[in-house]
Symmetry: C2
Subunit: 374 residues, 2 copies
Amino acid sequence: MAQMNYLTQCTFDFGALAQTPRVLKGLGVARPFVVTDPGLKANGLLDRLLAALGEAPAGVYADTPANPTESASAAAAAQYRDTRADGIVALGGGSSMDLAKAVGLMVSHEGPFERLGATQRGMRFITKIPPLLAVPTTAGTGSEVSPGAVVILDNGRKETFVSPYLVPAAAICDPDLTLGLPPLLTAATGMDAMTHCIEAVLTPVVHPPAEAIGLDGAERAMTWLERAVKDGGDRDARWHMMMASFEGALAFAKGLGAVHGLSHALGRIQDLKLHHGTLNAVILPHSLAMIGDAAPEKFARLRRALGLAPNGDLPQAIADLNARLKLPGSLSAMGVTEAHWPAARDYAVSDLATLSNAVPFDSEKYDALFRRAL
Amino acid sequence: MAQMNYLTQCTFDFGALAQTPRVLKGLGVARPFVVTDPGLKANGLLDRLLAALGEAPAGVYADTPANPTESASAAAAAQYRDTRADGIVALGGGSSMDLAKAVGLMVSHEGPFERLGATQRGMRFITKIPPLLAVPTTAGTGSEVSPGAVVILDNGRKETFVSPYLVPAAAICDPDLTLGLPPLLTAATGMDAMTHCIEAVLTPVVHPPAEAIGLDGAERAMTWLERAVKDGGDRDARWHMMMASFEGALAFAKGLGAVHGLSHALGRIQDLKLHHGTLNAVILPHSLAMIGDAAPEKFARLRRALGLAPNGDLPQAIADLNARLKLPGSLSAMGVTEAHWPAARDYAVSDLATLSNAVPFDSEKYDALFRRAL
């Protein structure tokens, strides 16, 4: 059982779910409140968590929407208070973990939720939230070790909340929980992890340990993602993809880049409901092609990690991987059109991730990236 | 300026020393107590720290011995209490940092100091110590991010103290402070960092992020250590060696091995006063040769990180590096004889690092390692 304590105190291995009572005890949580989504209630994973807990939790909120909203978070927070819970267990993918972080903020911070948002420079108001244990059921987002949460506000705006206090106090990463993930979701979430690793390596922010972890995660995803997609029951592949996901989020402690800027912008298009990981996968080769010569040393290290020849074509290698994973080859294939761009463009330019891109990215650069990926 | 927050909140770059007031403020320290050694008082580095502080600290203890002792720690702790200090700044190499950790323990824990030692399973008694800011002046030990301290007790026994609470709350790593290190000390401390990285990679404990950091640190040391030794004023080399040292200690969150077991054992020989890093350097090739075929995948990754051919001779590469660094080629050359072995042997076998060695190591294995290295 791997015990890792960079940022999050993480217990990682097959069967780690059984450690839930021990980990909660270590956090001083006696009355956990579980946050999850309808899919995990339906497919039995919630029941497995409840069985692992032994005693009934203080409460369960199983209505997390695909994209967490302020109103859903408020409903869960009200339930948290009513049940006199003293900590949160988030079971799920990025949505459940982000909603759990929002609940943690709401039950411990006064005033309008919105003022805590990153665009309001809300980080300075954010302090301690109740102990949060994250139990991921996908391998990609890495929310179990990330300081961020994305929530759609009541006013319709998609807001990011960022603070070191939002890094879950503990995580239980049990690859058993991902064995049932369907191939397409495995591919899309896996490419999310790959994108975290690669963008984190490429940002000019200096953080060599995070860069090393990103390279390792990228190598791991390149080696194992196809196997996890081809055979969902491949336990080794599931273990390594969950580790790549964890490593991706450790790595992006140093920042992300324009793939995420554009992906966040397009993810806000309400009528399309595009998957974040799939967007990242489609955009990544084009962002890499645009960075190219500006980051020769980082490209060399990435080629080495991904098993390419010293002069290998990195963008093409990612495009080829996408094709083998049967992910879409373009934004058009996902339903995006030129008409979506004007509204998304400004959002991309102002996204937090844009600030740490490998090369400066302005509106014109985003125009080019969008058109390439379209 | 790199900001890294795995385990320790670290500010790292040339000129980082100037950030000392900001970092202390962040830790809530208003009356810092400085722990350093006579050499740093003599060579002006203490004065540079005092100048960076701006106002006078609560107190200064500048009598740290080459190997920290319980009595020196007690003297410093008494001074800490007398000056009503509320935090510690450790300026120096491993000795000052370890003594500062001992002071932190003494001023916050009741009862005999000895009971807190690792051999007494003292970790369970260790709780919060006053905020500790570590400012390393060598590049090797990595104590600024490690959970351990080694102190010679009043009863003559060398004891290790280990607890997550002993990881310094913050570190300021300023490669400027290492520009004046003489070549031999640069080489010996640098090989300490290299040994941390390599032994951490090789231990079977599963912690992929730490392994990735260890590989990166080993690559960095292989690339830059010779340059730092040949030209102490090579700023790039100093930067990278300080980073390799930091990475080495992040990596050994996953454990160390028999090189450290034997090195700790021989380091206790009072009349020889052997340097820990030099011992590690001399022993490392022999430990690697004994592990060899038992860790083929780890060896392959290390060869790749160190720039060797896929079938390159890893132990020989380290021995060659030692020779180029003008480090001793054997324990005999350091003054160790067969007569020292009986007393050291049991200590090596029971050393904490032995538990996490790449392959199980008993008395016979240590006999073989000692004779090879002799």
